[in-house]
């Protein structure tokens, strides 16, 4: 249970970082909005998958 909580904290930090970096990237290059968003969603989905794996392992 504690392990799952730790994983969720990690996943939260990971997705937060992905989102934050994507925002910065969009701020720097507004033209590349579409590409950055796609890459962000893929990375976020991969991190999220680990979180769900941990939750279902409990």
């Amino acid at each position: 249970m504690v392990g799952a909580g730790l994983v969720v904290i990690g996943v939260g930090m990971g997705i937060g970082r992905i989102g934050g970096s994507a925002m910065e990237a969009i701020g720097r290059q507004p033209d590349a909005y579409g590409k950055i968003q796609t890459a962000m969603l893929i990375a976020a989905a991969l991190v999220e998958g680990i979180g769900f794996a941990a939750l279902f392992a409990v």
């Binding site: 579409g34 590409k35 796609t38 969603l41 893929i42 989905a45 991969l46 999220e48 998958g49 769900f52 794996a53 939750l55 279902f56």
Partner: protein
């Protein structure tokens, strides 16, 4: 406006068939007064997450303390030395034995087992039933939902296509809503990921899977209480299609990339120690990619339903002027997030499928 009237009639007929004639399937179960609210809510949630043999509308306990279930029964189809078809109302939520011809069946923990007249079910040490379970091909709640969405999509997009030809290629009506979505999938998902040359080949699947998953996700948010995309068998089927299409449309370069990723950049004897590690990883990757697809969709929808149902359940646990409105507000907010997630998961499934098709369709310029 005969066409609009027609549509209204059709929709109301559909709604009517779903709601107007709920059969009263009453099953007697003496309410266990010692069963506390928490475990009842827990049971309710886990019951909701599973597929069922009927569309349960609601249940209540009458003054005699009996549980009355009100639901629309669905056909049960079993293969047990020949086809056995009967209505799920015979199963009485597992509280009575269904007699079909000379066979007896009983519902136990969501599965149908063959039993004797009394309905005895034997268990092993791990509390798994040891009775014979016949091959189950029943039209369950999830199957009905999927058929409904399939028919809806067929009708919707057929009529959409018709309005295009009648209107000289200008969208009309609901087409104004769907055209940008279809164009988005074509121009922002398929084209950049698969490539200009081959993307048309995959558009059928991408569009179908996007709308199928999206509509099913949305159907899961209605009070009908279906949880189809949160069923691992369904997402497995969808991911299997992606897997098959990826590998059957794989070009020579795709397979070369799998089994000879370094190409001619190295001598063959130098590649051997690397390939002992590389090739198993690449081969595993073929299976891991669709596996992550199926787990992601399943886990997201399942988790969304659990959170939503738990918050609704909290209302009944708090039973106070402070806690219940708070959890109601939270449930409302989560519902809105789930609306977004329904779209996002359909998008990610389509997006990643397109990405994998892009790997399969790749053609390197050989230098």
């Amino acid at each position: 406006m005969p066409l609009v009237l027609n549509k209204i009639f059709l929709i109301s007929a559909l709604v009517a068939t779903f709601f107007s004639a709920p059969k009263f399937v009453s099953a007697k179960e003496t309410a266990d007064s010692t069963k506390d609210l928490k475990s009842e809510i827990k049971e309710y949630i886990s019951h909701h997450l599973e597929d069922a043999y009927d569309f349960s509308l609601y249940s209540y306990t009458n003054e005699k303390g009996e549980h009355i279930y009100i639901s629309i029964p669905l056909p049960v189809i079993l293969w047990d030395n020949g086809l056995q078809i009967f209505s799920s109302s015979k199963l009485h939520h597992g509280e009575e034995v269904a007699r079909v011809g000379s066979n007896y069946y009983k519902l136990e923990h969501g599965k149908i087992y063959k039993t004797d007249v009394e309905g005895t079910i034997t268990y092993d040490e791990a509390h798994h039933a040891t009775n014979y379970a016949p091959l189950d091909l029943s039209i369950t709640k999830g199957v009905v939902s999927m058929l409904f969405i399939a028919l809806l999509m067929f009708w919707l997009f057929r009529s959409l296509a018709k309005t295009y030809s009648e209107n000289n290629g200008v969208p009309a009506g609901v087409g104004r809503f769907f055209e940008p979505i279809v164009l988005y999938i074509r121009d922002d998902i398929a084209r950049p990921n698969i490539g200009e040359k081959k993307y048309m080949k995959y558009m059928n699947f991408l569009l179908t899977v996007f709308f199928f998953v999206w509509f099913l996700n949305l159907l899961g948010l209605t009070p009908l209480g279906v949880n189809v995309t949160g069923n691992i068998a369904v997402t497995f089927g969808l991911a299997l299609l992606t897997f098959l299409i990826t590998n059957f449309t794989g070009t020579k370069d795709y397979w070369l990339h799998l089994f000879d990723p370094l190409g001619s950049s190295m001598k063959w004897y130098a590649k051997i120690p690397l390939y002992i590690i590389l090739i198993p990883i690449e081969v595993l990757g073929i299976f891991i990619k669709p596996f992550s697809l199926l787990i992601r969709l399943y886990a997201n929808m399942q988790a969304g339903h659990i959170v939503l149902m738990s918050l609704i359940g909290l209302m009944f646990i708090f039973k106070s002027w402070l806690g219940s409105p708070l959890s109601f507000g939270l449930a409302f907010a989560i519902s809105l997030i789930e609306l977004l997630v329904a779209l996002l998961q359909a998008y990610i499934f389509t997006m990643l499928s397109a990405l994998y098709f892009g790997f399969a369709a790749e053609e390197h310029e050989h230098h």
